[in-house]
Symmetry: C2
Subunit: 425 residues, 2 copies
C-alpha cells in the first residue's frame, strides 16, 4: 500500500517528526518507510492520495472497561468505592444476558473505531460468554488488542461474585479458546483489583500467567480509601504493589496497572524492576476525585507510563480528549508543584500512541517495521477551515477540539478499517 | 407555544427541578409555567411534542472571543502574554479585512448555535466594521447577547494599536448605531485589559459607560506576569481591580470580569460592592497554565460567578464541556484544598445557565417570566441507547460526553432557532 499525505509521528517522547507531501509505503501489516520522493520501484502502483491531510498513528488505549461505556458521564460526584457499588457493578451484572452483552459490545467497538482507537486492552465482565463475545466481535471488527474476563471472588455483590475454582476454570477455558480461534485478539489476565480477589484466586491467576505466559491488567492505588482497604485485607504484606507481586501477578514486561497514584519509593522500584506499564487515566482520576499521578516525575524516574481513557471512570472513549486531559492535569499539577515541568500536548500524544503501543509490540509509530495503524485527519466542515494551518497546528486542533467527524479514514495492521457494525442490526 | 417533555432547570445553585411528562407553556418570548396536566384553556392547541426527551435551559456564555474561534486548540504550551503575541494578535489583525471577518463570524455563530449557546457576551476585534458585522450577523442568527468592539491603544503591535480618540469615536458610533438598528444585540464596552489601554482611553470609555448606561467586559488577574505588569504600569494604584474602578469601568451590576484568579481581600470587597460578575473560564485557565480560581470560596464569599468558555484560551465553544471542566478543575482543587468543597456537575451547570443568564435579564431558567431559551436533548444514535435513564442521568451524560449531535432543537426568546448560516455561502 502506498499513501500520500502529511505524516506526523513521534519516535520518542521528545521527538516529533513531520513529513509534508510525503509517501508512506507499507508491506503487509507494517511500514516500510516514508519518502519525500516515491522510490522508483513503486512507480505506477495505486496510491491512497490524502494530499493536504494530516496522517497520524492511531491511538492505543491500555485501560478501558468495555461494559461501562454505557455509563460514561454518570454519577461522578461520588468517590471510587461508592461509585463502583452504585453505578458500575449493577451495570456489569447485566452482562450475564448475552444478547444484551453483544449489543453493548457492538456499541462499544463502533465508538472506539469512530474515535480512532485501533488497539486496546479491555476489561470485559466476569461472565465467560460475554467476555468471549467481546473477543470474537473485536476480531470481526478489524480492531486489535487484548481482552480479559474479569475475576472477582470477594467483597462483591452476589450477582458479581464468582466461586474461585469456577473463576479460574472459566479463565483457562477462554485462554485456550482464544489461542485456538483468534488471530488479532489475545487474552489478558484481569483480576479486578486486590479487594475483589482472594489470595487463592490471585495465586491461581498467577499460575495461569506462568503456564500460558500471559499479560496481566489490574488496578493499583487509585484512591486513598482503596489503598487503606488493601492494607487491612493484607496486613502482613507491606504495600499494595507487593500484594500483586506476592501472587505472581507482576509479570515481567507484561503487566498494565491502571492509576498508580499513591506509590511509595519501594513500590516504584518494584514496578520499574518488573517493567510494569502504568496506565495514567486523567479523566477518571479527576471525575472521581481520586488524585493526581505525578506523571512527569514518574517518567523521569524511569517508570513506563501511558495515557488511557478508563471508560467509564473516564467520561469519553475519545483518546484525543484523554491526551488533552493529561496535558491539562499536568499543567494544574505544575501550578502547585512548579518543580515538576508539565507535559506538552505532543508529549501526551506520544503516551497515547507509541508510549502505549509499546506494550502491544511495534505499534504506535511510522518507523520502519511498525504496524501501520493510522488516522487521516480532515476537518469535518471544510467551509469552517478559513486559515492555512501547519500539520502540527492541525494535530493540536484535533487533539483539543476534534471528534470522530474530523477523522476521514482509519487503518489498523496495514488495512483500511470500515465501521464495524451497523448500529441498528 | 406549548411543549411537552421532561424538563430540568435550576432556580438556585442548590435546587435542581425535574418535571417528567410535563407541559411548558410560553407567551411571546417568556415562560408562563410548567404543568403536570395541560391547563384546560390550552386544550386543542398545537403541541411541540418532545415526549421522552430532556429539555434544559440553553447556555449563556459571558466570556468568548469571537475572532479567536479559528485558533481554538492551538499554541497552548505557552503562557498568556506569549500566547497573545504569537497566536492571538496576528489572527485578530486579520479582521481588518471585512470579507474575512464576515466569513469568520458566520463560522463562529453557527458553532455557538450548534453547541447550544443561545446568548453570549463576545469580544469582537478593534475593527469598527468587523465589530458591526458581528452585531448584525448575531441579530440575523436568532441568537442574542452583547458584542463589544475591542479597545487597545498601548503595548500592542502596530496593526492592533488604535489612536485613543479614534478608538473612542468608533466605540461611540457603534453604540449609537446598534441602539438605532438592532433589537436583540446590545453593545458592551470592551477595553481589552489594563496593559492594552491607556488611562486616557479607559477614562473615555468610563465616560461613555456613564453617558449611555452601558455594560462593560474585560479581563482581570488572569496570570501572575500580567498582574505584575499592571502593577508596574500603575504603581500609584494599589490593585488591578482598583485600576478599572478609578476609570469608571466597574459599572454597578453591569460588569463582567474574566478570570479573576489572583485577588486580594480588598479587591473581592470592591468586586462584591460593585456587583461584578466574574467569568470563570476553566478550560482557558488550565490550557494556558494561568491558575485555579477558588470558585467555591468566591461563591461562599458572595461574589457573583459564572462559567464561561473563553474561546480561544478555551479550546471549545461547547459550554457543556466548560461545565464539565469547571467541575473537574474544582475537584482537582479540592484534592489539595480539602477544606473547599468541590462543585458538583449540576452546580456548574447552574453557573452556565441561570448563573450567567442573570447578567442578561431573566434568562437561564424555566421559571415563570423567564425568557424561553431551551435545548432539547436527544441521543444522536438511538441504537446506542441501550439503557433506561433518568432525565438527570441524561443531563449528566450530555454535559460530560455529549456534543451538538445530541441536541435535537434549540429555542431562544420563545422561538425555534434554525442553523443560522449555510456554511458554503
Amino acid at each position: 500500500m502506498i499513501l500520500k499525505g502529511n505524516f506526523i509521528w513521534m519516535p520518542a517522547m521528545d521527538r516529533l517528526e513531520v513529513r509534508e507531501n510525503a509517501w508512506l509505503v507499507t508491506s503487509g501489516e507494517t511500514v516500510v518507510g516514508i519518502y519525500d520522493q516515491l522510490p522508483p520501484e513503486y512507480a505506477g502502483q495505486p496510491v491512497e492520495d490524502w494530499s493536504g491531510k494530516v496522517i497520524i498513528p492511531a491511538f492505543n488505549d491500555l485501560h478501558i472497561h468495555a461494559p461501562q461505556f454505557l455509563n460514561r458521564g454518570i454519577g461522578y460526584d461520588t468517590r471510587l468505592l461508592d461509585w463502583l457499588d452504585t453505578y458500575t457493578f449493577p451495570l456489569e451484572a447485566r452482562f450475564r444476558d448475552l444478547d444484551f452483552a453483544r449489543r453493548a459490545w457492538k456499541v462499544f467497538l463502533n465508538r472506539l473505531w469512530a474515535a480512532g482507537t485501533m488497539r486496546f486492552s479491555a476489561f470485559a465482565t466476569i461472565h465467560k460468554e460475554a467476555a468471549w463475545a467481546l473477543m470474537e466481535l473485536t476480531e470481526q471488527s478489524g480492531l486489535r488488542g487484548l481482552v480479559g474476563k474479569v475475576n472477582m471472588d470477594r467483597n462483591s455483590a452476589d450477582n458479581l461474585r464468582e466461586e474461585t475454582a469456577v473463576s479460574l476454570a472459566d479463565t483457562e477455558e477462554l485462554i485456550c479458546r482464544s489461542r485456538a480461534e483468534l488471530k488479532h485478539v489475545g487474552f489478558i489476565l484481569t483480576p479486578r483489583f486486590v479487594p475483589s480477589t482472594t489470595g487463592a484466586l490471585m495465586d491461581g491467576l498467577g499460575q495461569l500467567g506462568e503456564r500460558y505466559d500471559l499479560p496481566v491488567q489490574s488496578h493499583l492505588s487509585e484512591n486513598p480509601s482503596e489503598v487503606e482497604w488493601v492494607r487491612q485485607l493484607h496486613p502482613d504484606i507491606p504495600t499494595y504493589t507487593q500484594v500483586y507481586e506476592n501472587f505472581g501477578l507482576l509479570r515481567k514486561d507484561k503487566t498494565i496497572m491502571a492509576h498508580a497514584i499513591y506509590l511509595s519509593d519501594g513500590e516504584k522500584e518494584l514496578l520499574r524492576e518488573k517493567g510494569v506499564t502504568l496506565a495514567h487515566c486523567p479523566c477518571s482520576n479527576v471525575n472521581l476525585s481520586s488524585g493526581v499521578m505525578p506523571l512527569r516525575r514518574n517518567l523521569e524516574e524511569g517508570l513506563r507510563c501511558c495515557v488511557a481513557s478508563d471508560v467509564a471512570g473516564g467520561h469519553t472513549a475519545a483518546m484525543n480528549r484523554s491526551v488533552a486531559a493529561a496535558t491539562a492535569l499536568s499543567k494544574v499539577n505544575w501550578l502547585s508543584h512548579p518543580e515538576e515541568a508539565h507535559l506538552t500536548l505532543t508529549e501526551s500524544f506520544y503516551l497515547a500512541t507509541r508510549g502505549s503501543g509499546a506494550f502491544l509490540g511495534q505499534v504506535g509509530s511510522f518507523e520502519p517495521g511498525f504496524q501501520f495503524d493510522a488516522l487521516v485527519l480532515s476537518p469535518a466542515d471544510p467551509a469552517e477551515d478559513l486559515l492555512e494551518r501547519t500539520p502540527v497546528e492541525r494535530l493540536e486542533q484535533f487533539l483539543c477540539d476534534g471528534d470522530d467527524r474530523d477523522i476521514a479514514a482509519r487503518y489498523c495492521g496495514g488495512v483500511l478499517v470500515k465501521k464495524p457494525f451497523a448500529t441498528m442490526e
